[in-house]
Each structure stands twice: as C-alpha cells, then as structure tokens.
C-alpha cells in the first residue's frame, strides 16, 4: 500500500511541529543559559564583525581555563572578554589595538601565541634547530651504514 503525497506532507508537518515543540521546550528548560546569554555581550548581526571577533578571540587566552582561547572557553569571564573584543572592534579599533588592550591588562601571557621577539624566539627557533641537528645526525648515520654495510650487521 502506498501513501498519498498529501498524507506524506501532513506526516512531515506533524513531525516538524513535534521537533519544534521539543526544541522550544529545550530552550525554555535552560533558564541558566538564557540568563547568562542575556547578561553577556549580545551577538552582533554583522557577520564581518562576528568573524573578526572570532579571530581575535581565538588568539587570546582565557584567564580562567588558561589552556583555552576566549573563543573556545565556556567560562563567563571569557565570554565577557569576548564581548569587550566585539565592542572594541565595533567602535573602530583594529584587531592589533584590541590585542594590545588585553596585553596592557594581562601582560603578554594573554596571547596564545607569543610574539616572535626577544627570548620568545627560542620557542620558534629551537624546534627548527632541533630538526636541523636531527637531520644531520640521521644523514651521517645513514651515510655510515651505507658506506660499510657488512660492519653494521646486527648493530641496531
């Protein structure tokens, strides 16, 4: 037996309304989140501003979670700080100026990626140096093994 197109549509409408009721119920059933959302900075309707906010917030560290960025942290402080990022960008500040504001308040620690200057250069250059040194060691070892293969038997 096949269903008539009209009854299929009606069935989907019924399912859709059930899902809508469940979603609405779920939203109403989480008053804590609702209140927190209302309290924190409202999300802008401007997609460009939101994207810029997301980018800057991804580069700043959450002071509470420390390992997370403002973008990824669920803590209220991080959400409020993200609100500050959004407000400052909306007021015409550049991403660099916004980051500088947070550096002035929290120190360079607030940047998830340290600036590539001074002692911080160690973080950037040491891995490269280690890869270089490792490459030389491997290259020399391989050269030695291939030069005298009979002498290296069982030597691994």
């Amino acid at each position: 037996m096949t269903m008539r197109p009209q009854s299929v549509t009606r069935d989907w409408l019924r399912r859709g309304s059930v899902i809508a009721v469940l979603v609405a119920g779920g939203l109403l059933g989480a008053p804590g989140r609702g209140v927190a959302q209302e309290k924190s900075a409202p999300v802008s309707n401007d997609p460009v501003l939101e994207e810029k906010t997301r980018q800057v917030a991804s580069e700043l560290r959450c002071p509470v979670c420390q390992g997370n960025s403002l973008q990824d942290s669920p803590s209220e402080l991080a959400q409020e700080m993200k609100g500050v990022v959004r407000d400052q960008l909306a007021s015409g500040k550049t991403p660099e100026q916004v980051k500088q504001y947070f550096i002035d308040k929290y120190g360079e620690w607030i940047l998830l990626e340290p600036k590539a200057t001074g002692f911080n250069l160690v973080v950037y250059l040491l891995p490269l140096a280690m890869v270089g040194v490792g490459g030389v060691v491997i290259w020399r070892a391989v050269k030695k093994w291939t030069a005298a293969p009979e002498g290296m038997e069982g030597g691994g």
Partner: protein, 207 residues
Amino acid sequence: MNWKRAAAASIVAVPIVVLLGYGMTRDPKEIPSPLPGREAPPFSLAVFAEGHGIQHRATGDSIRLADHRGEVVVLNFWASWCLACRDEHSTLSMVAESYAPKGVKFYGVLYNDVPENGTRWIAEMGGQSYPSVQDPRTRTAIDYGLYGVPETFFIGRDGRVAYKHVGPVTATVLASKLDSLLALPAPPGMHPAADSVKSVTVPTTGE
C-alpha cells in the same frame, strides 16, 4: 672519539634540561600583572551595599576613581560564591574601619555575581564596614586584568596601582602596604577632590 660524541650530545641536551628545569620552578597558575606601577584604570560604579560609619555611601551612589585623586584607595574584587573571600572578609572590614579616619577608601567590587546575592552574603558574614559596588558585565574587572577572586588592588595617592594581591589578604599585608602608601605625599595637583573631602567627617579645627 666517544668523548666528542658525549660533548656534542651535552651541548644539545644540557640547555633543554636547564630550560625544562626552569619551567618546573614556575607556577603556571601565577599570571604576572603588568598593572602595578601603571595608572589605575578609571571606573564609575554604583553602590549596592552601603557600609557604615564614616565609610557609608548610599545605595545607587556612583563611586568614581576620579573623585579620589590624592587618596589611597583599596579595591577588593569579591563574589558571594567565592569561598576564599570568606577568609579575608572580617580582616578587610576591620582594617578598613581602622584606616578610614586616615583617609583610606575601601571599596568592594562584586565580580560575576548579582547584588541580591552580595547583600545576602554580607548580612550572613555579619556586615561590612565599607561599601561595595556592582560591576555590570565585569568591565571594570577586565580593565584591572582580573582572573579570579579575591584580588585586591592598592592604589596610591598618585593614582597608580601600587600593588596587587591575589588570594585572601591578611591584616599584615594590608597594614604594611597601607602604611607605606600613606607615608608617600600626594603629588602636586593630586590633592583630594572637594566632594570626597566633604564625605569624610573627620573633625578638623580649621584655620
């Protein structure tokens, strides 16, 4: 031949071990604040807990840092959900009371909390001698580079943050910091503002 290899390995390994060893001595939770020595961020916040005696400020009064030029100000960020804030509360309240006649202004700044909870907490703790203000959307807290509560900021007569204390503050720390700040004269042009002088009812003989 072998000692050459050992020397080469040491040249690579020793700095790494030293670097890791240095990292072990540091507390990753301890965030250095760049604020001490800098101009204290200005604020204007509304009172929700009045305090008493000469420190009394009416509910709804706006507390502005700009009105405290030339005065020593202590800002204590706290919350009703903060357990460590319970440890320092009575000390802060007592020290604030004893330093009020010397012109030191104490303010509690409610962090990430609602005034109703704050008022209830203060009543539960037996009152608070100094006023507390609310900080909507934690803007002032972020301006002060806060990352938790309690944190206490000491602002000198020059309007600069002199010291930041993380965690419950003790009477000894409060007294030593306040005494050293009070010993410093207000820089020229930083004398207490007229209205904040009026609010302190210390008997004066006049000229």
